[in-house]
């Protein structure tokens, strides 16, 4: 009733003017919405590109004094973030090894038992876990790993916090992917008398492979840039460390260190540029895989 009255009120010209004005506002605000991504990427490239070189990937950071000398001579700060890159690769792979198998298998369980109470509970809990702030996951890994297991900050603790973050994403993406596979394919395999685990390994997983991969890549891209949980768990290290029981650096941790050291501050842009390239690259890759298989 009320909307009908609204529709008939006013003359046509005024209404169509209002209509066009509204569309203009929507377009304008949409452009405002996406402007930060353009501005951020522009800023990172503008300030960071000159620092990027092979040295930047292969060497460890200079000490504060070296950096200060370079800056005062107007030179590019020497060294790179090799310790962060190796640390990130180490912790992200370790987290993936922990989260992907459990996540995929749980996703299969949810898909196979849609109405069961345990499946519903697991699904709801996964959703809630997905919303837990990453800093809280840092606290958890500190309580579970740093104190009792490695008795000190460690790469293992860092990867546990990242794994808990990644797990629910994998669970839900696996379930959603499997739901789209035609039931008949699975039934055909079962009718041939194929054991259940082979149906999973040879039918479900290969058929949904690209979907699973999309979810996994997206999950990895999310944990790559995490800083807060690593501050509480991996702490950081000025040298390349591959021992999972020792403190380890990561690219986002290095950015945080550079940000807090006035002499090194120039390095934040190139490090962020590299991190963004990794994160957005994975993001776009997973999207293109998803688009290709649709």
């Amino acid at each position: 009733m009320e909307s009908a009255a609204k529709l008939s009120s006013g003359n046509l010209e005024r209404r169509s003017l209002k209509d066009r004005l509204f569309k203009g506002i929507v377009i304008l605000l949409s452009m405002v919405t996406i402007s930060p991504i353009v501005l951020i990427i522009y800023k990172l490239i503008e300030k960071g590109i000159r620092q990027i070189s092979f040295d930047f990937i292969l060497k460890t950071p200079p000490d504060t004094f070296q950096a200060m000398t370079a800056v005062s001579n107007g030179e590019i700060i020497p060294g790179g973030i090799a310790n962060g890159i190796t640390g990130t690769l180490l912790m992200v792979s370790l987290a993936s090894v922990m989260a992907i198998p459990v996540g995929v298998v749980t996703g299969i369980y949810l898909y196979e038992n849609p109405g069961k109470p345990l499946a519903n509970l697991t699904r709801n809990i996964s959703d809630i876990l997905q919303g837990v702030p990453s800093i809280v996951l840092g606290l958890i890994a500190y309580i579970w790993v740093v104190k009792p297991i490695t008795s000190g900050y460690s790469a293992l603790a860092g990867s546990v916090s990242l794994a808990i973050m990644m797990l629910p994403m994998i669970v839900r993406s696996t379930e959603e992917t499997l739901k789209m596979i035609p039931q008949s394919i699975k039934e055909a395999a079962l009718a041939l008398g194929v054991p259940y685990y082979k149906v999973i390994l040879r039918v479900l997983i290969p058929t949904g492979f690209s979907g699973l991969l999309t979810g996994i890549l997206l999950g990895i891209s999310r944990i790559l840039g995490e800083t807060a949980p690593l501050m509480l768990t991996a702490l950081g290290s000025s040298v390349i460390n591959l021992d999972i029981t020792k403190p380890t650096s990561a690219v986002p941790l290095l950015i945080w260190e550079f940000y807090n050291d006035p002499n090194m501050v120039d390095l934040i842009w190139s490090s962020s540029l590299l991190l963004m390239a990794m994160v957005l690259g994975l993001n776009l890759l997973s999207k293109s895989i998803a688009a290709r298989t649709k």
Partner: protein, 283 residues
């Protein structure tokens, strides 16, 4: 036959593991928080003093609870018109076009930018602009943190609203058009009312995101352990105080930080469940 049983057991065990992790998280946070609640009782939640000086240690979480809710609310208000417009752009005006695809990808990429990069951008680009506009405290504070938070949560509200808006039946819209309604009138009298609960759920979920953001907020909020005196005042959120104070924490202080973590966990869990509940009710 036997392998089938094993397979089923493995499936069951791994989903049970998730429940165990979730239960273990609550248990660990709660037991870590015991010393803090023992010393201060429920005053821990209502206390507005944060004093780590040895001998007169006193910890209250109220400044951080207020800081968290305030920044997230302001962020939500700022993001509201932006994500609403973007979802109309994607789901209504340019739905299915190439333009919408590009814009949609860019909005999604906003969710991919690491929190620390948002923090840097806020610190080096946004803050100078705000200072030149006359913002006090060298541009640090609730307002600055909220602007960055707003950008960070836009993709969450936008993607859900867009999805719901595209699901509004074409017949409903066509009926309104046939009555002579303009597009804007269709949007406000047909699209928004039928997509209302989905849009609201999207905002609730993005609010939940804002509550727990850490790095960008830590870099911009000014890190003052008191209740913010104004919109533009400095403060701290629950997440940022953990990030800030964790380094030198042990004993009662560590327990207090874990207690704040527990409160943050419960608040975000509650907000997220509310959002999911609304979505489920729609289905």
């Amino acid at each position: 036959m036997n392998t089938d049983k094993i397979t089923k057991a493995v499936l069951f065990a791994s989903s049970f593991l998730i429940l165990l992790i979730a239960g273990g998280m609550i248990f660990s946070l709660a037991s870590g928080a015991v010393p803090a609640f023992k010393s201060f009782g429920l005053n821990f939640i209502w206390g507005n003093v944060w004093n780590p000086t040895e001998g007169s240690e006193n910890y209250g979480a109220l400044p951080f609870i207020v800081g968290t809710v305030l920044t997230s609310l302001v962020a939500l208000l700022i993001s509201l018109p932006l994500s609403f417009s973007a979802s109309l752009f994607l789901g209504e005006y340019y739905h299915g076009t190439r333009l919408a695809k590009i814009l949609g990808t860019m909005v999604d990429l906003l969710a991919g930018i690491p929190s620390i990069v948002y923090g840097l951008w806020g610190f080096y680009v946004l803050r100078p602009v705000l200072i030149s506009l006359g913002l006090p405290n060298q541009g640090f504070g609730i307002f600055t943190a909220s602007i960055i938070l707003a950008i960070m949560i836009i993709p969450y509200a936008t993607s859900l609203s867009t999805e719901i808006i595209t699901m509004v039946p074409g017949e409903l819209k066509e009926a309104a058009y046939s009555l002579g309604a303009t597009r804007m009138e269709v949007i406000f009298s047909v699209v928004v009312p039928s997509a209302r609960s989905g849009i609201i759920a999207g905002y609730i979920l993005s609010f939940g995101r804002a509550l727990g953001e850490t790095m960008a907020v830590t870099m911009l909020i000014g890190n003052a352990n008191r209740i913010p005196d104004s919109f533009f005042g400095t403060g701290n959120t629950m997440a940022s105080v953990i990030a800030n104070q964790f380094g030198e924490a042990d004993g009662l202080k560590l327990s207090s930080l874990i207690a704040i973590g527990l409160l943050l966990f419960l608040i975000t869990g509650l907000i997220n469940s509310l959002g999911k509940f609304i979505i489920k009710k729609m289905e």
